[in-house]
């Protein structure tokens, strides 16, 4: 009995160009505008950087290491401490760390092209304008560093950085990397001085090393943001349409056919759910084709969109019940004009507002779009179904609660006419 209602709603929706424009075209346009205009604002947006960096290496790591090992053998240290220092020194070769672990790391090698230059070519390279920055490593750099770290010998340990003024942006980035590197070395010096075993984890040049999540770029962010915003208009459209059925006395005809109010009501719920789900698939499909926003875990993506559509079905059912009860379309109007905007703001469709405070994040996640958006971003960052389970559960409970409230408040026989 529900199928004719779903078919009818689909046909009516397909033939209503104005609503199709709102539900499909407008979000695509907004994704394009916001995604391009605010590109680079989010962490995941890769800046278009390519910088040539020269490293003039006056140091001889192996020689310095051997000299350091001799020093500790002659220092009369306990055997255990001596062994520990030898092992630590072998994993703390600064030039190798800088050239291999920092500049040749996965995240930095996209941006920097590093050339190791012999000292005799130093003057020539310094005059070459193609390099964004030149790093000069002094003689005995490794030896002095190891001696300072392990034996607390005082020594001047410094790197020389030459910045190309014509490439200020990229040379500043190189400076940032070097400062980070120096900071790391300084930390090691302090740690070593206190006699604590050195961490043998390699120092990397990444800016973010704590999380293993994939970063989100603006196009991905606004694809999700606009999709979960515009899914809410499906609820207001369907509920408005359902109220117009009452105004046109079509609802009376439906009741006279001995169709129960429940069938009608469940029909609205499932129509909304289906249309919302199709809308999301179209929006994400177009985003994949045009904006190259792809989804890793398709199962998680589908489960989440189904549960979000389920919640939106509940919203449509509630709006319909309220419209019928107050005998006006104003519940749908209020929802589409005020609540959608408010929910979208709280849910983070316009900007990641959740970063402002945990309370806003909590409130945002109470909205269906906010919960959906948080979970979809997690899927984009590599989460599977288990990672988004709590959001899926919340959306389903949200839909059930709204549907129950709607069923309770839907006018009984004689009241809805």
């Amino acid at each position: 009995m529900i199928f004719p209602f779903i078919k009818k709603d689909l046909l009516v929706m397909i033939r209503n160009r104005q609503e199709l424009l709102v539900l499909l075209l407008m979000p695509i346009v907004l994704i394009a505008i916001l995604g391009f205009a605010l590109g680079g604002v989010l962490k995941g947006d890769s800046p278009n950087i390519h910088a040539k960096v020269a490293i003039i290496n006056n140091d001889n790591e192996q020689e310095d290491l051997q000299q350091f090992i001799k020093d500790i053998e002659n220092a009369g240290l306990p055997t255990e401490a001596e062994m520990s220092m030898k092992t630590g020194a072998q994993s703390l070769l600064p030039v190798a760390i800088l050239t291999e672990d920092v500049f040749d790391s996965e995240e930095l090698k996209k941006y920097f092209e590093v050339e190791i230059i012999k000292p005799e070519q130093a003057e020539k390279v310094k005059k070459d304008d193609n390099y964004a920055a030149i790093i000069e490593i002094p003689e005995k750099f490794t030896y002095h560093l190891l001696s300072k770290v392990f034996l607390d010998k005082s020594a001047e340990i410094s790197l020389q950085l030459y910045k190309n003024e014509g490439k200020q942006g990229t040379s500043n980035l190189v400076e940032d990397v070097i400062r980070q590197f120096q900071k790391q070395l300084t930390t090691m010096t302090i740690v070593g001085k206190n006699g604590i075993q050195l961490d043998t984890e390699p120092i990397t040049g990444t800016i973010e090393t704590v999380s293993k999540k994939e970063p989100i770029n603006s196009m991905q962010y606004y694809t999700v943001g606009m999709s979960v915003m515009f899914i809410m208009y499906v609820a207001s459209n369907i509920s408005s349409f359902a109220y117009r059925e009452k105004q046109l006395h079509v609802f009376n005809r439906i009741i006279l056919s001995n169709t129960s109010r429940w069938s009608y009501f469940i029909g609205i719920f499932f129509s909304t759910m289906l249309i919302a789900f199709i809308q999301q698939l179209i929006l994400y499909g177009v985003s994949a084709l045009i904006f190259h926003v792809y989804w890793g875990d398709l199962a998680a993506f589908l489960v989440l969109n189904l549960s979000l559509s389920f919640a939106i079905g509940g919203v449509a059912a509630l709006l319909t019940a309220v419209n019928y009860r107050i005998d006006s379309e104003s519940a749908s109007g209020f929802f589409s004009s005020i609540l959608v905007t408010l929910f979208s703001l709280l849910g983070g469709s316009f900007t990641p507002l959740a970063e402002v405070s945990p309370i806003i994040e909590f409130i945002g996640n109470l909205t269906p779009n906010g919960a959906g958006m948080t979970a979809l971003l997690k899927v984009l960052q590599g989460s599977g179904i288990t990672g988004i389970f709590e959001h899926v559960l919340y959306l389903i409970i949200f839909g059930i609660v709204l549907l129950s409230v709607a069923a309770f408040s839907f006018p009984k026989r004689g009241e809805a006419i």
Binding site: K8, V250, N252, R253, S257, N258, T259, G414, I417
Partner: protein
């Protein structure tokens, strides 16, 4: 077949329908005549089980449909006054949707859709969106939807409002044909007395929530057997003339419409001289004076003091 007993409906402080008693026998066409706001649509809504009465009962084959509304729904077709259709769907899609919710399926549904489209003369337009239809075509489809599940009885609430004469005739002929060929029982409400006169075997006249008269056309007209209706046509209506006519103790009703004044007078009274005198006195130019046989309009005028279309 259907008995309506002491039916009333009250909305807050408004008594929409008060103590209505009616009955319908199988195979007859019964008219419910009354001006707009008389309570016809509310009565229809109650007896089709859409709204619950404040008091009274509606019985189908002696079983209360107030308590068991589903009893009447599967044998009843209702043509609402409004165009209750999906205008973004085609005629055929509308019929498919309503047919399915009435439980028709497959070949049966296809056959019924073809038959109904034939009956309402829309076979050629079946694939067209309803929003492209004329008012008359929409009205016909509005009727078609009510016929789809082959009801025993059909209730038509002002089915010809706002359409051209050709479509109106088509609808009236369709109603006659349904009654004649399929023995369908029809309750036809209208404020067009000529439609009710043309179609109905028996008539109920309703005003301000009450049934004020009922019977066959002849029985109702006999109410006016002792009276005549005189139509006075004048060049220009003057208030003074209306006033003196109303003041005449022999004249029972005075009704002004366009350039005509209808008066109801006792048959034995000859008022030609008096009318001529009143016209001269008020300096009104008379065009004609005509005595006509009573109509249902006159009956309504006689009973309520108002015209049906007031």
């Amino acid at each position: 077949m259907l008995q309506i007993m002491d039916l009333s409906k009250k909305y807050k402080n408004v008594q929409a329908v008060s103590g209505v008693n009616m009955y319908l026998e199988k195979g007859e066409i019964v008219g419910l005549l009354g001006p707009n706001g008389a309570g016809k649509s509310t009565t229809i809504s109650m007896l089709s089980s859409l709204i619950t009465p404040s008091s009274g009962d509606v019985r189908l084959h002696n079983e209360s449909i107030v308590k068991q509304p589903e009893k009447i729904r599967h044998i009843l077709g209702v043509v609402p006054q409004e165009i209750a259709l999906y205008t973004d769907l085609t005629a055929e899609e509308n019929l498919q949707f309503f047919g399915k919710i009435y439980g028709l399926q497959g070949t049966t549904l296809k056959l019924r859709i073809n038959e109904v489209l034939e009956q309402i003369g829309l076979t050629d337009r079946r694939k067209d969106l309803v929003k492209t239809f004329s008012g008359g075509m929409k009205r016909r489809l509005n009727i078609g939807v009510a016929l789809l599940h082959t009801p025993e009885m059909i209730i038509m609430d002002e089915p010809t409002v706002g359409i051209d004469p050709q479509s109106r005739n088509y609808i009236l002929e369709t109603v006659k044909r349904l009654n004649r060929e399929q023995g369908m029982t029809v309750l036809y409400t209208s404020h067009y007395m000529e439609e009710v006169e043309f179609l109905c075997d028996r008539i109920y006249i309703m005003d301000q929530g009450h049934i004020i008269a009922s019977g066959t056309k002849e029985e109702l007209k006999n109410i006016l057997s002792s009276e005549n209706t005189i139509i006075i046509k004048v060049e220009r209506i003057k208030d003074e003339l209306t006033r003196v006519l109303k003041a005449d103790p022999h004249i029972r009703q005075v009704q002004v419409q366009d350039q005509k004044i209808s008066i109801i007078v006792p048959k034995e009274e000859n008022l030609f001289q008096a009318i001529t005198h009143y016209a001269e006195e008020t300096k009104t130019k008379l065009i004609s004076i005509e005595v006509k046989a009573p109509t249902l309009e006159d009956v309504f005028l006689h009973l309520t003091g108002r015209a049906l279309r007031d």
